[in-house]
């Protein structure tokens, strides 16, 4: 049982687990922080951006790091835990010889598709004429200004994938439901469990008959919109892989939402616009729900909310139809029937409007002051770039960062000097360290495996000893490009017995409570399942009738020898020998047992714990006699 760790990023994990002849990849997150090294891609050519000193438009948008630690064509399955963790899927399934299957829940696939579509759309609509790649050369990279110089693994950055690649990658996905048991080649069973972080997000249990590995990634104990986390099924696991904890352990999501609302209200009251860079799915549903309750009380009901994304419509609609993946009170709304999310009402009352892009209808409906939700949170591409350019000059406006994936200061760097206000209230509902320790106490795994970052306090707050995982035995940590041998061995394998064969068994009680029976059977293995079948009978003599019968090809089986058990009491054995006319018997004790010497016959009988040897010179008669004597002491099956 081994784990290959392909990604060092704690919230965007990518691990490969070798477990009982199957190779399972757990998640494939795409680390997009490398885009921060690029200039923003504006929709319309902007003279300011293209003339910034010290920056130059480098090749498209390239990201991702994957190491060549393992041959990706040997990966049998990929398990996806949530839609943020599947963004690298096209890089893995295409052009690497990958032939396996991908398992994910339906909302994960649908929303993941939306995220990828948005990404591809943002990048493809402004194609670049030329791309530079020479700078990735080590010698040249050394000479570049500092953020690029320090970037690691530049050679693994890649261009963004295309829509064809996305479609072909997504066609390899098989949909699963929570608690559905999926057999992998008969050897391993995997089960997704609700993790409570996002629509359709899941933790996975990977188990064989006697071992259980749990994979916890991006879970949340807060009650937001998704189905609550399933903790009970994680119990009794031998190994628990823990990734995707909160990225800002010091911030409380509830407080951040409050801050978000009050800042938003303040700006709008002063006549400014609010820009919220966000992903098209996920936290935005919660934000809209909060705003739904908040705007009326704050007297802002006349302020329009705009949601601009190529997939805005699908995202809002999809959220309403995934009823079975929602938390209980949202689910019960569906039966009333009512839309589970209140943004349906916002749309109906024209308070929330959504547009596929900044041009077209949006241009006609645009009113200020307003609140705009749009992507991409890295501020490097997407419609958000245009709004930053448009509103950045006025101090009335505010940009509020809610996604924790990108450092907001770095994201803002190319837009400096900036007059607009910047508020950072990251909302990350994933588990924090207090919740983790509570969870671990409850679940009681034998071993915990987690990224290195979680075993020590964050570098910025090195005194906060509470910001690390604390458990017994201490968690095993992994780093990028490391191979971890998980500390348990597989000992047992399950074998089934055919009913006919089981019928024929006659157990004998050896100790009270323990019975034994010998089984003579043929072990039949198919699809990694083992089955004991009754041995083929020796061919029956054919009846006198002349009958054309197709004689089955019965493989010749050897005559079964009985098995022996028991120990030989030496003294009684010597007595028996004497009874049968052997004299001059010497018994020597050795380390392992006894040696009985028959000096007269020049014969030696070694009796050890697990073997008995009779050594005599070419006297077969004598040997057979002695053998029979020995056998008398032993039990036969």
């Amino acid at each position: 049982l081994k784990m290959y760790c392909l990604s060092g990023h704690p919230t965007l994990p990518c691990n490969v687990l070798k477990f009982k002849s199957t190779t399972i990849m757990l998640d494939c997150g795409l680390d997009m922080t490398s885009t921060l090294n690029f200039l923003p891609l504006p929709l319309v050519q902007s003279p300011r951006l293209s003339s910034l000193p010290g920056w130059s438009l480098k090749d498209g948008n390239a990201f991702l790091d994957k190491t060549e630690l393992i041959d990706l064509s040997t990966v049998d399955v990929i398990l996806i835990s949530n839609y943020h963790c599947m963004m690298a899927l096209p890089y893995i399934t295409e052009h690497t010889g990958f032939t396996g299957t991908v398992y994910a829940t339906e909302p994960t696939v649908q929303i993941g598709r939306l995220l990828m579509e948005e990404l591809v759309n943002f990048i493809e609509r402004v194609p670049k004429a030329q791309s530079a790649s020479l700078w990735k050369n080590k010698d040249i990279q050394r000479l570049l200004p500092s953020p690029l110089k320090d970037a690691v693994e530049v050679s693994t950055w890649r261009r963004c994938y295309t829509m064809q690649e996305v479609n072909s990658a997504l066609s390899k996905i098989q949909l699963v439901g929570y608690s559905q048991k999926i057999e992998l080649f008969g050897a391993v069973q995997v089960t997704p469990l609700s993790s409570g972080y996002a629509l359709g997000s899941s933790n996975w249990i990977i188990q064989s008959h006697y071992e259980k590995v749990s994979y916890v990634s991006g879970s949340s104990l807060l009650t937001t919109h998704p189905q609550p986390m399933d903790q009970a099924s994680l119990k009794n696991s031998d190994v628990l892989v823990l990734t995707g904890l909160t990225q800002i352990p010091t911030a409380n999501p509830d407080g951040m939402v409050g801050e978000f609302c009050s800042n938003l209200a303040l700006t709008v009251r002063n006549g400014g616009n609010v820009l919220v860079p966000c992903y098209p799915s996920g936290v935005i549903y919660d934000l809209l729900e909060c705003l739904y309750q908040y705007i009326d009380s704050a007297g802002l009901s006349s302020v329009p909310l705009y949601f601009i994304s190529p997939v805005a419509n699908s995202s809002l609609e999809f959220s309403q139809i995934f009823a079975e993946w929602l938390c209980h009170n949202k689910q019960s709304k569906v039966y009333l029937p009512e839309p589970p999310f209140p943004h349906a009402e916002l749309i109906q009352t024209n308070k929330l409007k959504h547009y596929p892009s900044i041009h077209g209808d949006f241009s006609n409906d645009f009113r200020q002051p307003c609140v705009v939700f749009t992507g991409h949170p890295s501020l490097r591409f997407g419609d958000v770039v245009h709004f930053m350019e448009l509103w950045g000059k006025s101090s009335l406006n505010t940009v509020i960062f809610t996604e924790p994936d990108f450092s907001y200061l770095e994201a803002l760097a190319p837009y400096q000097p900036l007059a607009m206000k910047c508020i950072y209230c990251p909302i990350d509902t994933r588990l924090n360290f207090i919740q983790v320790s509570k969870l671990l106490k409850e679940v009681q795994p034998l071993h915990v495996v987690c990224p290195e970052q979680y075993t020590q306090p964050p570098p910025a707050q090195s005194h906060r000893m509470d910001l690390m995982i604390d458990c017994q035995p201490p968690a095993m940590s992994y780093r990028r490009a490391e191979v971890l041998a998980l500390p348990f061995k597989r000992r047992y394998e399950k074998i089934e017995i055919m009913p006919e064969l089981a019928d024929s068994l006659v157990p004998m009680e050896i100790k009270p409570g323990i019975s034994l029976a010998t089984v003579s059977a043929v072990l039949h293995t198919k699809d990694n399942k083992h089955l004991l079948q009754p041995p083929p009978r020796p061919a029956q003599p054919t009846s006198g009738k002349k009958r054309k019968r197709v004689s089955d090809d019965v493989p010749d089986c050897k005559v079964l020898k009985p098995l022996l058990s028991g120990s030989i009491p030496v003294e009684q054995f010597v007595q028996t020998l004497e009874k049968h006319g052997f004299s001059d018997i010497k018994v020597e004790d050795t380390a392992k047992g006894h040696i009985v010497l028959l000096q007269e016959a020049e014969t030696l009988i070694q009796i050890e714990e697990d073997s008995t040897h009779i050594i005599c010179d070419n006297d077969e008669m004598l040997r057979v006699r002695l053998r029979d004597l020995v056998l008398k002491f032993l039990q036969k099956f």
């Binding site: 630690l69 040997t74 049998d76 032939t99 004429a129 080649f185 241009s363 191979v483």
Partner: protein
């Protein structure tokens, strides 16, 4: 631990010594071989070596290896690196490090220029001692890489196959997989070779692989089938016995196995289509291809959609199948054909031969009982029947698309099947997925030659015209161009629907007109009875004259005029204004309206059309002759040469206008002649006769000529499709002359030598480049400028700039005019912007600061690689210009040499308040050696956005 360190250090020192011996040795060998000192770089392998020795823990070693793997290794140092890796391999206890080393070995052996046979022995050696299954599998992969690198070496391949066979019994599925892969890729193809190799027992690779069809692990079964397919791909003829084995795998539990098995069955059925196989449960026998077809059809209703897609796709390529099987695919009724009941006579015969007779005690106990094997009974034993019905109704659109494709291919090979599948195809026009609709429309177009649409079918087809997707509508127009309609109501219906489409989507205008053109010319007799109604004429009363600019009216006229071409009675039904409109349309839309033989009118254009063919040759001749004449101008005086050139250019231009087929050639040669003319003119300038310093300003003409020649040569090189290397040489030669001219002019007009030095050097570099690049073509350039220049090259290199200029000047005057060989096919690239139309009245409005999207629709002709070369330029009234690169997906390719660009251009501006004109241009980017100048090429419409504050 201390002890360990000590050991490590020791071994480190030892090995370093060995190493320093190794390298000089290699160098020596090389010196002998090439007599040239080449420095090998020991740094790479040595660095790796040191790193590996430093690594005390496996994890560190792994990191070093990972870092090492990122850098490429030169072919010369591969072997050294391999040795070091192997050495480390023997010592290493951690399997993950060994795994990485094994994969590195595979990577290294793929290095170009490195022959991996020297490391094979080692690889096999370490294979034998390896315990970890994973590493074993990786090592086998390495061997595979080595084997594929040495395809000629039979002995090595035999040996590798031997190794693979040995490890086939491994317990790990990964190892078995790789072994099978190895066998598939390297298994010997010919029996004769195995006979020769006496040491190794002749192995029947097919048999060995076939045994693993029943392996316990599904992944191994898949790998076995894949290996078999690989053998087939490499040209080995598979045995027919495999067919039965593969058929068993069709009912496997795992979809990968089934999917691969379907493929294998298809392959076998193509190999042995005519051999006979028995049908189980009866004594009948059928052709193998039919049996395979039935089996694959059955897989169209498989549980896994991947298998269904696979099966549906393969069905399309089984053309040898018998027609009654084919037709069954469209019929859902169950058939008992494949499980035929035996006749009573047959049963009696069987009973007799088995020796069982009725005892007579009970009535009817000898009545034949059909033995039913419970395992063999499918709830629906379908065979071929209804395969396509199932496929076309499948829930997954991928399956439906595959089924439509298969249907298309089968229908193309069998007209009777095409007739039958029409209904099903038409039904697919209503599919919910756009891709499926599009595919079925295309399919229908391909088979439309031998079908006629009924009215109800036409109805369904025409309903698609309301589709919001432009692609689908245009595909449907294309389809209507080549379908046959059976009744006049059908034509009427089609016209009405097309007009509806026209009002709903005015952008489809051109496509609809074109469609009606073909519809009319295909069905003249059906259009005839409709004419009075369509033109709304009345026998007694004059009706109002319709608006000539109405696209719908034009559409109707296009239909009628095209029908009238082959229907001489039709013009009698036209009213007066129709004739006038005909004349107008014939002039304005000549590509849509044919020449008609109208009563009482001059046959203006009809005279042209039949004579075009006969005239083609003379015009070609004329072109040739005028060019021949030009090439003799060397012997004329300058004045005469200029006149001759001018006349010829004029002739050529006129010819290009008259004969569209020759336009490309004529333009191309005219441009070339114009360059020559400019050159001659520039050299005739008076300024050359006067002392240099006096003419500082007046040399404008010459330098302008030089510039223009340069520009024209770039146009010649990049704006024509079909330019061959022969022409490129001449064009470059002309450009070189222009550069020489430029140099001379600058030399005369500038004072001081410093800038001249640089220019001279640059020019000589260009000459050098020309020589190197076109070395093969130099013999053709006898007596030319370059030819002379190269003769004098040594002198030029050493002389001063002033002297160089003087030499160049005389040479330019003396050099001969080169003959431009005409290419076979040459076309000038051109583009037309259909949208935005220039004269649009209503301006686009958008909010200040936001973005407006402007639809651009253009057709490009004879543009090579438009995805990379065509750009859109937007010119704002304040002089700002923006270059926009359209997405590759925006280009469609409707026909050879034609492209269509449909894209959106985003405009934004913060400072406007009034309506202004914005210019949109298409640009063709070209790249000549280093510079990337953009050449403005076709300017199109303008728009006037208005800003609303």
């Amino acid at each position: 631990m201390e002890n360990y360190f000590h050991q490590m250090r020791q071994s480190y020192i030892c090995r370093f010594c060995v190493f320093s011996f190794l390298y000089p040795l290699q160098q020596q060998q090389e010196e002998i071989a090439t007599k040239k000192l080449r420095l090998t770089k020991p740094s790479k392998s040595a660095a790796l070596h040191i790193d590996l020795c430093k690594a005390t823990f496996p994890a560190d070693a792994l990191q070093y290896l990972l870092q090492f793997a990122r850098k490429p290794v030169e072919a010369e140092s591969v072997e050294g690196v391999v040795r070091i890796l192997l050495e480390h391999y023997y010592k290493e206890n951690d399997p993950s490090v060994r795994l990485k080393i094994a994969s590195l070995l595979g990577l290294l052996s793929k290095t170009a220029g490195f022959s991996p046979d020297c490391i094979m022995d080692d690889a096999i050696n370490i294979l034998q001692n390896e315990k970890s299954h994973q590493v074993l599998a990786q090592l086998l992969d390495t061997l595979l890489a080595i084997g594929t690198k040495l395809p000629e070496n039979q002995a090595i391949q035999m040996r590798l196959v031997d190794v693979a066979c040995k490890h086939l019994t491994d317990t790990s599925h990964g190892v078995r997989n790789k072994c099978l892969q190895l066998l598939g890729n390297l298994g010997s193809l010919e029996k004769s070779v195995t006979k020769d190799a006496e040491g190794l027992a002749a192995r029947d690779v097919q048999k060995i692989i076939g045994d693993y069809f029943s392996d316990q692990d599904p992944r191994v079964r898949t790998a076995a089938i894949k290996a078999m397919l690989q053998l087939h791909e490499r040209g080995l003829k598979l045995h027919q016995t495999i067919y039965n084995q593969a058929c068993k795998l069709l009912s496997d539990d795992y979809e990968q196995v089934r999917s691969a098995a379907v493929q294998l069955i298809w392959v076998v059925s193509q190999l042995y289509p005519e051999s006979i196989v028995p049908i189980p449960s009866s004594n009948e026998e059928i052709r193998l291809v039919d049996d395979a077809f039935g089996k694959i059809c059955h897989m169209v209703s498989d549980g896994s959609w991947v298998v269904r897609v696979q099966a549906a796709k393969l069905l399309g390529s089984m053309e040898q199948v018998s027609s009654h099987f084919l037709e069954q695919t469209l019929d859902k009724k169950l058939m008992s054909d494949l499980r035929r009941k035996r006749t009573a006579h047959e049963r009696a015969k069987e009973l007799y031969s088995s020796g069982e007779f009725s005892s007579g005690r009970k009535w009817g106990d000898d009545a034949p009982k059909e033995e039913v094997d419970t395992g063999a009974v499918n709830l629906i034993e379908s065979g071929a029947c209804g395969a396509f019905v199932h496929g076309l109704e499948d829930e997954m659109y991928e399956v439906r698309i595959a089924a439509v494709e298969a249907l298309c291919m089968l229908a193309q090979s069998s007209p009777s099947f095409a007739e039958k599948c029409l209904d099903f195809l038409v039904d697919m026009f209503n599919d919910e997925i756009e891709e499926v609709r599009l595919q079925s429309i295309h399919t229908m177009r391909k088979i439309s030659n031998n079908i006629t649409l009924r009215e109800d079918q036409l109805d369904t087809v025409l309903a698609v015209l309301e589709d919001s997707s432009r692609d689908i509508r245009e595909a449907l127009h294309e389809l209507l161009c080549c379908t046959n309609v059976s009744t006049k109501e059908g034509i009427h219906l089609a016209l009405v629907e097309l007009l509806k489409n026209l009002t709903k989507y005015p952008t489809d205008r051109d496509s609809i007109w074109k469609c009606l053109k073909f519809l009319g010319s295909r069905h003249p007799t059906l259009v005839l009875p409709l004419v009075p109604e369509l033109l709304s004429t009345h026998p007694f009363f004059d009706t109002a004259e319709p608006d000539m600019d109405d696209p719908a009216y034009i559409a109707v006229l296009v239909l009628i005029f095209n029908a009238a071409k082959t229907c001489p009675t039709m013009p009698a039904l036209f009213s007066d204004h129709t004739f006038r409109h005909y004349a107008y349309l014939r002039d304005s839309l000549s590509h849509l309206v044919p020449a008609l033989r109208l009563p009482g009118r001059k046959l203006v254009s009809s005279a042209v059309s039949p004579s075009i063919i006969s005239q083609e040759d003379p015009s070609q001749q004329f072109l040739q002759q005028s060019l021949e004449r030009v090439y003799s101008l060397q012997h004329l005086d300058p004045q005469g040469a200029q006149e001759l050139l001018e006349f010829t250019i004029r002739d050529l231009q006129r010819l290009g206008e008259l004969q569209s087929e020759l336009a490309g050639v004529a333009d191309f040669s005219a441009t070339y002649l114009r360059c020559q003319l400019l050159l001659i003119k520039a050299l005739q300038e008076k300024l050359w006769n006067v002392a240099a310093p006096l003419y500082l300003k007046q040399s404008d003409l010459a330098s302008a000529a030089a510039k223009q020649i340069m520009e024209e040569t770039y146009k010649m090189e990049f704006m024509y499709s079909g330019v061959e290397n022969k022409q490129v040489v001449i064009i470059h030669h002309m450009r070189l002359q222009a550069k020489a001219l430029q140099l001379i002019v600058t030399a005369r007009t500038t004072r001081g030598l410093d800038p001249l030095f640089g220019m001279c050097e640059k020019f000589l570099q260009e000459v050098d480049f020309f020589q190197r690049y076109f070395i093969a073509d130099l013999p053709h350039l006898q007596d030319s400028f370059v030819d002379k220049l190269l003769d004098l090259m040594p002198r030029l290199m050493t002389s001063k700039p002033a002297e160089v200029v003087k030499i160049l000047q005389t040479m330019l005057r003396q050099s001969a005019f080169l003959h431009l060989p005409l290419p076979e096919q040459i076309h000038k690239a051109s583009a037309t912007i259909i949208e935005p139309a220039g004269e649009s009245d209503n301006p686009l409005r958008f909010t200040s600061g936001l973005v407006v999207a402007l639809d651009v629709d253009a057709t490009l002709e004879h543009v090579q690689d438009p995805q990379n070369t065509v750009k859109v330029q937007v010119l704002y009234p304040d002089g700002q210009a923006q270059m926009i690169h359209p997405k590759p997906a925006d280009f469609r390719n409707p026909g050879p040499g034609r492209h269509r660009l449909i894209t959106q251009v985003y405009l934004s501006h913060t400072a406007w308040t009034e309506a202004c004109q914005v210019e949109v241009r298409l640009l063709l980017a070209y790249n000549s050696s280093a510079r990337i100048p953009k050449c403005p090429w076709m300017e199109g419409g303008e728009v006037s956005p208005q800003d609303v504050p």
